[in-house]
Symmetry: C2
Subunit: 492 residues, 2 copies
């Protein structure tokens, strides 16, 4: 289904997913709040991410880092000097633009890492003008995207809001390595916020000033990390940097093409997460390799995880898989004057890092785009059960004491183990529609037969399936088993 | 057990609970990171808090708000003008102090809401000098504790890091009220970060510049909220403002003394949470009523939830229960020029707010203080099972292929349903000690009998209880039932 941002945002506001922060006051640019439905789906997605990428590995853990960091580590990491966008202002209306966005909107493609001089040359050569008022553009300049804060009674202690959660992990590596008995690989994950002073924040949870990330950093011994290819013939969509063309390659072929085996196995893991667990269609997902100026110089291999999101105009980044080498620990060793190398079996070396990075907001947006279906007849949010706010709704067919009290008894008996909602108000059709819209996969209806001891269907209810609207009659005693099956994760 | 901050921090660092952020670079004042153990306990505490205070109420929900807020709502809420501490600087060494902390350290007690003039008078009268170098103190002055950020390409868009999560809720009330079918009471909760430019941050997760809160705002109709006293004879420790003396009162007596019934019932809920669920000793918890200058003027009833924390020097605030009246929605109605009153059954009114506020970091600190027990013989962290990182450890008694492979099979069979850890390395005593220290309540040991088909104890394991070190032998097939019972929440 093709959607645009307004349509999706309209749905999001109507059902309690997300909306601009402080919209009571006109909103804040590039900053969003999650309503109750969005917060619930986000937390379930986080739980899923944790259990899939972190908890099933014996030496992988979640930690939590502060959002404010002092200046020094961000000087050491290179962010203070290099976490820049190039901006360009209109001499007439004084509006500032991100140079790459300005040029892209003018139909001019430039490399992500293009320099101030290169951009100045392109602007001059193509005669680009201000898209707002046609005014002449000034000189492009580097603009640091970090948001700084001044602390202390005289506001002299400079800090930054962290630009990525990863830095909090690097700062904690040496301590966790000690506490966790000096074993590698060691995985440390953070789910949390990061902040960027985006010049051109866009609608639709894409380019945010305050964003949520889920990042896993795996520290490993580059000489000894043996990672098996679990499915050598597992196929993925890849756009290699060399050719720039999207092709299908299996894991074995990728290794033969020179990508490290541990890297490829993690591509498979990620791909399986989206396709097998979340049921994202094959053609909607790909790995897009960055190289040359488009990739950070310290990354040895860098692929974006891209999903095809019609409301964003096609394939867009929702995460990344980065073989970062030893850059991070080396930088912080220098910056802090503390040697972060490790010694294992008599050999001293700097652990390397493989980073799995996911934009949580972008992933939530993607889920809405993929699973919200609108037709002339109805709107339905076909979320996987393990992400939905409720696993089931309990609905007495009509205003009737016997039905209502039966409904309540069922509700009370299962609410400790399942996420259930009970709803008495409105016609049954209206209540079905409400549950469709917020993604509740099952409606359990209590009707005449349920409470009629003479009926052959006494003590049975109907279960309505959200996706195909089919209904079947089951015994009340069988409900828990059905719900257990429904909320189980799919086999990979 | 009496503890000091250094001792508790030492334990916290050793086992992976928490430590100063960026301590690789010397740390950041008043800002902490959670290590893997602390992050795990914190998330379990959040889940518990959510299920106890939020999820079992049909019209209560969690939402998520941005950490950066624009300026306007914080002008409307009064924070821009009034969220002040009074600071005082030394004329000689230029160090700044929080006036109340400076005076308290000098043994002088003043009201929380004392004015600049009152403090200036006290300093003069008592001849207070700089505690650092004895220098003369300058004039006290109001200092706004919010941390501001400047956004946009020219850094002209002023914002603040939110000083409390509550504001994010008030900003979202009107929208959620619409989405959630215009029913009261409506409860909206946020678990998230808040920021304050504390002048005198102290060690021990107490006075933080970046803190985690769990706050529930209940919006209700002041004329119609009927809340039953579930246990009229439930006793609590209370320090009423009128007398300032700690006494024991039951719920009914509190209502008779004039506290609103809905307020008292929520005191009971909170008290039960700490005593019955978390098993905090009766004498360690009390409600401390604030009044006069010590309470915010808009609060109709204000009690701090206090726990007796030896490492902080006695009873300290870990949360609060605030009947805030209609102040918040009225302020934002004025600030935003949007009427936030509601109309129900033909009557228009401004919903009132009851706020349940908890400092998550302070609660985590309290859990460590309450459950970490150190003796000459051993160190043990007697956390309730539902908060612990692992529910059980699986330990083959010694290096032996049969035991190890049996251990692995048990591990594989239960790890999907339970949080379990498998540990092969070190003597069994050392492994027990490690599990004691991080709070794992059960150690399941696989020994000779477990794998000896001729033994009468074939296919049994020993289960060691962390708290009393008792061991009993059980069938492997009975393990799941035992673990289920162990992790269940206690009956209230």
């Amino acid at each position: 289904m093709l959607m645009d941002i307004e349509e999706l945002m309209g749905f999001a506001k109507r059902v309690g997913l997300f909306w601009p922060a402080a919209d009571l006051y006109g909103g804040a640019s590039g900053i969003y709040d999650y309503g109750h439905l969005g917060a619930s789906i986000k937390r379930h997605f986080e739980d899923l991410w944790l259990s899939y990428f972190v908890e099933r590995n014996d030496n992988y853990y979640m930690i939590e880092g502060s959002n404010i960091l002092p200046e020094k580590p961000l000087v050491a990491s290179g962010h203070a000097a290099k976490f820049n966008d190039i901006i360009i202002g209109c001499k007439r209306c004084k509006t500032h633009f991100r140079a790459d966005v300005l040029l892209a909107d003018a139909g001019i493609k430039i490399a992500e890492g293009a320099s101030v001089e290169e951009i100045a040359a392109v602007v001059k050569e193509k005669g680009v003008k201000c898209p707002r008022d046609g005014g002449e553009l000034g000189e492009p300049k580097a603009f640091n995207m970090m948001i700084d804060v001044m602390l202390g009674p005289e506001k002299k202690e400079k800090g930054y809001l962290r630009p990525e959660t990863a830095q909090s992990v690097y700062l904690n590596f040496y301590r966790e390595f000690q506490v966790l008995r000096k074993k590698l690989p060691l995985g440390l994950a953070i789910m949390g916020r990061a902040y960027r002073n985006e010049i051109s924040p866009r609608q639709g949870l894409y380019r945010l000033r305050e964003l949520n990330q889920a990042e896993l950093q795996i520290f490993f011994d580059p000489e000894k990390w043996e990672v098996k290819l679990e499915e050598p013939h597992y196929k993925m969509n890849v756009v290699p940097y060399k050719t720039g063309e999207q092709i299908v390659m299996n894991a074995e072929e990728l290794v033969k093409a020179g990508y490290p085996q541990f890297y490829v196995q993690h591509m498979v893991l990620i791909d399986r997460f989206y396709r097998k667990i979340l049921n994202i269609p094959k053609e909607k997902l790909r790995f897009f390799e960055k190289g040359g100026n488009d990739k950070a110089f310290y990354n040895k291999v860098h692929m974006d995880i891209e999903a095809d999101i019609s409301s964003w105009g096609g394939f867009r980044e929702i995460g990344g898989l980065h073989y970062r080498g030893e850059y991070d620990l080396t930088s912080h060793s220098k910056g802090s004057n503390q040697d972060l190398s490790v010694s294992i079996d008599g050999r001293r070396f700097m652990p390397n890092v493989l980073e799995l990075s996911f934009g949580l907001d972008r992933n939530v947006w993607m889920l809405v785009e993929m699973f919200y279906k609108k037709s002339a007849e109805r709107e339905v949010f076909m979320l996987p059960t393990f992400l939905s706010q409720y696993e089931a709704a309990i609905l007495p067919l009509q205003k009737d004491e016997a039905m209502e009290s039966k409904a309540e008894r069922i509700y009370d008996s299962i609410k400790k183990r399942y996420r259930v909602f009970i709803d008495y108000s409105g016609s049954i059709g209206k209540r079905y529609a409400r549950m469709d819209e917020i993604g509740t996969p099952y409606c359990i209806t209590i009707d005449f037969d349920t409470v009629d001891s003479k009926s052959p269907n006494y003590e049975t209810v109907t279960i309505r399936n959200r996706d195909d609207k089919s209904q079947k009659r089951v015994k009340i005693s069988a409900l828990e088993k059905l719900l257990d099956a429904a909320k189980a994760l799919p086999a990979e």
